[in-house]
């Protein structure tokens, strides 16, 4: 079996969860992967201090799409204050594959977008 392109990664890539738009929404953000120009955006609906629902849109490689898809389920229901604490390790662990330095940006793009939407911090993870 392939180390990187595991079955579940390809599955998420081909049939991503929570992709699309969400209107109305309370929070949103859009980021480019400067490596390739790929774009990923998020719409978030908030209830109280929690993410009630979210949708990703845009396009990207299997790694970035699978990461967004896998994370989306975890993010739903999460307290906004917890989102700001999520770090790269959380995402990489969740993805469950060895990610090279170059592809790291792909793997972290969705978390960057979500953090940007929730905390307004665009600089993460650098």
């Amino acid at each position: 079996m392939d180390d990187l392109y595991r079955d579940y990664i390809l599955e998420h890539y081909k049939r991503p969860q929570n992709f699309g738009e969400l209107d109305p929404h309370d929070l949103e953000a859009l980021e480019h992967n400067p490596l390739c120009g790929d774009e990923l955006g998020v719409h978030i609906r908030v209830e109280g201090d929690r993410i009630e629902d979210l949708r990703f849109h845009g396009h990207g490689c299997a790694i970035s799409q699978a990461a967004a898809s896998i994370a989306s389920e975890e993010l739903k229901g999460m307290a906004l204050s917890d989102v700001g604490q999520l770090d790269a390790d959380w995402m990489i662990d969740l993805l469950g594959i060895p990610v090279s330095a170059t592809r790291r940006k792909c793997a972290l793009l969705n978390l960057k977008v979500v953090r940007g939407a929730v905390t307004g911090d665009n600089a993460w993870p650098s």
Partner: protein
């Protein structure tokens, strides 16, 4: 067309990197469009200069400094001559990007104003796009784009209508597209621009390594290229300029070496080409780049072009057999530079490059520093296989094989 593609044109053993193995696999280098590999003679020229002839140039009286001076200026002569230029109007920069910035700042910022337009094309590399955006914004000039048609080509008619508007002061365009492979009719474009009173800048970063280039025949006022794509080292670019223009322009970077006399509040400039070379120039890099153009010259640029034309056709034909694979740029049969950019249905270009990379096949994936063009093409990224003098049929076959196994990983 001679059937030269079976073998590489250059002896592959001339390039030490091909001794590398990735796992068990040899290096299949199909990314010369990003940077070329270097023959041993180039690496040796660099080492020999630093080991035995190193001194700063232009001011030294002792013999070692004279050697360094002579080596540097002889390198300039050889590099200038490679594209039919003159040493005096051949300026060393750090890369092609700096050369274009130099013209945009030094010519553009002084010459452009409201009511003026700069015309570039939709297929420009960011290097020949962002500097014009910046200078047009600052000077209140307009930046317009010549469209790329469905064959990935420019229309001379569209050029004529743009020029007929009477406000175009400069036309900047690439000689060979780094994404489409399109070879633009540079002499025709230059002639029309000149007739309309516009000056021209040609971005030859991709052209110089793969075809005979004569800057006089290309007709450009400015012609830029970059060392690292032409078998030379990083850290050196080349700007050829028309003498009257260069003479009339203010310098771009200022500092040592480019001055005639410095007062507390005023400075006068040195003669060409030094006026545009502030600070210590890329001395060892120039010596190495001269070795690179000597190497290319010995292969013969006509033969390089024939070889790469043949190999590109072969590559296009074989890529056409891969299901779901779409090549962008001029269709088969049309004149084309030595590359193929493509998408594979169901696989993102990054994943294509990753999977190919594991088999030792090096291709680039992304926007290739040409985001506006990518938008025209309706894609966010492509994979690109680009060829050099060291490539042959076996590289094309390795590419195809790796594409097939990559598709299998994705269940395609």
């Amino acid at each position: 067309m001679p059937p030269v593609a079976e073998q590489a044109l250059a002896v592959r053993a001339d390039f030490p990197i091909f001794a590398r193995r990735f796992g068990e696999r040899p290096l299949v280098y199909l990314d010369s469009g990003a940077t070329s590999q270097k023959p041993q003679v180039v690496i040796d020229a660099l080492s020999a200069h630093l080991s035995s002839h190193n001194a700063n140039v232009h001011r030294g009286v002792y013999p070692l400094a004279q050697e360094a001076d002579a080596a540097f200026e002889a390198a300039r002569e050889r590099i200038a001559a490679f594209t039919g230029g003159e040493a005096r109007t051949t300026i060393f920069t750090k890369n092609a990007t700096e050369a274009i910035n130099l013209v945009a700042r030094s010519w553009g910022a002084a010459q452009l104003g409201p009511g003026d337009a700069v015309l570039i094309t939709q297929m420009e590399h960011h290097a020949n796009l962002v500097p014009w955006q910046q200078v047009c914004r600052e000077r209140g000039a307009e930046l317009r784009y010549l469209e790329v048609d469905e064959h990935g080509e420019l229309s001379l008619q569209a050029l004529d209508s743009e020029l007929a508007r009477g406000d175009v002061r400069l036309v900047a365009f690439t000689h060979v597209s780094n994404v489409l492979g399109t070879i633009n009719p540079v002499a025709e474009i230059s002639a029309r621009a000149r007739a309309a009173g516009a000056i021209t800048l040609i971005d030859g970063a991709q052209a110089v390594p793969q075809m005979p280039v004569d800057i006089a025949r290309a007709g450009a006022d400015f012609y830029v290229w970059t060392g690292h794509k032409a078998l030379g080292p990083t850290g050196i670019g080349v700007l050829h300029g028309r003498r009257e223009l260069l003479e009339s322009m203010e310098p771009f970077l200022t500092g040592g070496d480019m001055i005639a006399s410095v007062g507390l509040q005023e400075t006068t400039w040195n003669e060409l080409p030094f006026k545009f070379e502030a600070g210590t120039p890329p001395i060892a890099e120039a010596v190495a780049l001269a070795a690179a153009v000597d190497y290319l010259g010995a292969l013969g640029m006509e033969r390089v072009r024939d070889h790469e034309r043949a190999l590109t056709e072969q590559m296009l034909a074989r890529l056409g057999e891969v299901p779901g694979l779409r090549v962008v740029g001029p269709p088969a049969g049309r004149e084309r530079g030595a590359l193929a950019s493509f998408t594979v249905e169901g696989m993102h270009p990054h994943d294509v490059a990753e999977l190919l990379g594991r088999e030792g096949v090096c291709v680039r994936a992304g926007h290739h520093c040409a985001q506006p063009l990518m938008r025209c093409l309706g894609v966010s990224a492509t994979a690109r296989a680009s060829l050099g003098v060291y490539n042959d049929e076996s590289d094309v076959e390795a590419l195809i094989g790796a594409l097939q196994s990559g598709r299998a990983v994705f269940g395609l």
